[in-house]
């Protein structure tokens, strides 16, 4: 393992992120904040939603922000660099094994996802207050879930970014990301699906369910949520699976 090369690649990604900071900021936070404003402020303020919905919504919004950021940060550059600009070739020729280049992408994506999650909490809280009942009772579980969610988003980005053809980017959002968000227990707790028993079982294949439910369990435990151990187990399994698929696809793209 060549840490100097690995560090230099991270520094390169940091430099690019710094350069695009404003764009990244709006891309990451505008949509969740608008959502929070409409559902948490307008709908609750006008009485169409009960006021506790604010607290119920927030963990889901954090999960969406993190997952979307991680997937976007890893997948979009990879799609462009492998198929269009070939920018990545310079790094493929750096003295480090191919898998570590993919892992560097995952780490960079995870960092962005964690930052997105940690920034959206106070931002959303500012929009929603007063009346948000949020507290971190179990910091260890909370940190573990944040890291595992970030890893799942970045590994998912790696797998998607190395599998999807550039003309199918729109399809990726329409067919993968959008259903994932709506069936990801982001705007409602998993228990709310009990009147749709088949759907309630089906959505368990969606890793975003565990992200939303895990954040709900650690931030707003007063609402029904999946058990933390189940969330942690599922996230570890999804992370491992997506990383394995992502590394395999990356290697296929990198060496013809």
């Amino acid at each position: 393992m060549n840490w100097k090369t690995f560090g230099a690649m991270l520094a390169r990604d940091a430099q690019v992120a710094r350069r695009n900071a404003m764009q990244l900021f709006f891309q990451t936070f505008l949509q969740p904040l608008l959502f929070v404003f409409i559902f948490g402020k307008v709908m609750v303020g006008s009485g169409y939603m009960p006021s506790y919905y604010k607290s119920l919504l927030l963990p889901g919004i954090i999960a969406i922000s993190m997952v979307f950021t991680g997937i976007w940060a890893v997948a979009m550059p990879l799609i462009a660099e492998f198929q269009w600009t070939r920018e990545i070739e310079d790094r493929l020729l750096a003295p480090i094994s191919i898998s570590w280049i993919a892992i560097e992408k995952v780490i960079a994506g995870m960092i962005q996802a964690v930052v997105a999650g940690l920034v959206v909490i106070p931002l959303a809280w500012l929009v929603l207050r007063p009346g948000v009942d949020l507290s971190v009772h179990t910091p260890v579980s909370f940190s573990a879930i944040i890291l595992l969610v970030a890893a799942f988003s970045a590994c998912g980005g790696l797998a998607l970014g190395c599998s999807i053809n550039q003309q199918h980017i729109g399809l990726m959002f329409g067919m993968v990301i959008t259903p994932m968000i709506f069936f990801g227990c982001t705007y409602y707790p998993w228990s709310a699906l009990k009147t749709f028993p088949i759907l309630q079982k089906l959505v368990l294949v969606n890793p975003l369910v565990y992200a939303s439910e895990g954040l709900r369990a650690t931030l707003v435990p007063q609402f029904p949520h999946l058990a933390v151990w189940a969330v942690l187990t599922a996230l570890v399994l999804f992370d491992a699976l997506l990383l394995a698929v992502g590394l395999r696809q990356f290697d296929k793209k990198a060496v013809s």
């Binding site: 060549n2 690649m9 695009n20 003295p95 480090i96 013809s256």
Partner: protein, 338 residues
């Protein structure tokens, strides 16, 4: 101490699309699910064995699709061969890829510069990937930017660079970590003559510093002017190997007269063969004949007389002097630019 490059019996069979290096153009590869064309097997390399001596400028010459980019791809860890081996110095390319990457610098056929960075950052980050300290990489970047006449654009994003500027920066980048072996895939494609001459000077200078250089080209002049030795490849096989003068001397007679007649018969070819100075006559497409001879223009009256005597009117003549182009034509019956 310069190091060489060897390959042994390299074969590469593509089952789907062409290689990254050779799949020119900006179009995505169509090997995605959904559009499944019948899988055809294309042998890009067919038992290619060659040896590049330490410290020489070696040329791979051939038409588009001959297997040049695939050969470079295999030697530079980017294309996994179906069978066979490649070594840089004593290191097996596919056993120790990370070691190999330290020894080589690669200039791809199509610029692959990092569009998210400035010209200077492209050089300094590249050096950082190779573990070069910040002061040294800064100094080297300045030196190379100056040498490649890019110093005034150093802090600009490369997105707006012209093709020639991108090509120069690609070469500067490949030299940043001072590699022992430099691979240049079609280095002067699309360059204006002035830049091409600058490029040749830089390649020679780098070679004089004791480095081995392997370049691919389909420009005869380039191979002739730069290479100590070269090989002509087509369909993934070696057709000829030697120094440019040796290769040119191997063309029968040296001169090539491409003739076209009103009609062409076996008798005509035979009569041409019997003319003094003619070494070899090959029937060319339709009504043509390629005559290899040790004289050029002075043969024409005799050829015209032969044609008249058997009623085959001579309609077109093209004479070329000894060149690598003729050598390629001699081996394949096709022009390099076909």
């Amino acid at each position: 101490m310069a190091i060489g490059v060897r390959t042994h019996d390299l074969r590469k069979v593509y089952t789907s699309a062409a290689p990254l290096g050779a799949a020119g153009g900006f179009i995505a590869r169509s090997d995605a699910k959904g559009s499944k064309p019948a899988k055809t097997q294309i042998a890009a390399l067919d038992g290619l064995s060659l040896e590049v001596h330490p410290g020489e400028i070696f040329g791979l010459l051939g038409p588009n699709g001959a297997g040049k980019s695939t050969t470079v791809g295999v030697m530079t860890t980017r294309v996994r061969p179906t069978s066979g081996k490649a070594w840089i110095g004593e290191h097996d390319v596919w056993q120790e890829p990370a070691v190999i990457k330290r020894l080589i610098g690669v200039v791809p056929q199509r610029p692959n510069l990092d569009f998210s960075l400035t010209a200077r950052e492209i050089l300094t980050f590249h050096a950082a990937y190779f573990g070069i300290g910040s002061r040294e990489r800064s100094e080297r970047a300045d030196l190379l930017l100056e040498k490649f006449k890019l110093a005034d654009r150093a802090n600009q994003m490369v997105r707006g660079f012209s093709g020639g500027m991108m090509q120069r920066l690609s070469i500067a980048r490949a030299m940043m970590h001072n590699p022992e072996v430099l691979f240049l895939d079609e280095p002067s494609a699309g360059l204006d003559p002035q830049t091409r001459i600058l490029l040749w000077e830089i390649i020679r200078e780098y070679n004089q510093a004791g480095k081995t250089i392997l370049l691919t080209t389909h420009y005869m002049e380039e191979a002739d002017a730069l290479c100590h030795r070269l090989t002509i490849i087509d369909h993934g096989r070696i057709l000829a190997l030697g120094t440019p003068p040796e290769l040119k001397a191997s063309i029968p007679g040296g001169y090539l007269l491409r003739l076209r007649f009103g009609n062409q018969t076996a008798d005509l070819l035979q009569r041409l063969q019997s003319l003094a100075g003619v070494r070899e006559v090959k029937a060319a497409d339709g009504t043509g004949a390629d005559v290899y001879a040790d004289r050029g223009g002075s043969l024409i009256p005799e050829i015209a007389a032969v044609a008249v005597s058997i009623g085959a009117e001579l309609s077109d003549v093209h004479i070329s002097e000894p060149s690598l182009e003729n050598l390629f034509l001699h081996h394949t019956g096709r022009s390099l630019r076909d």
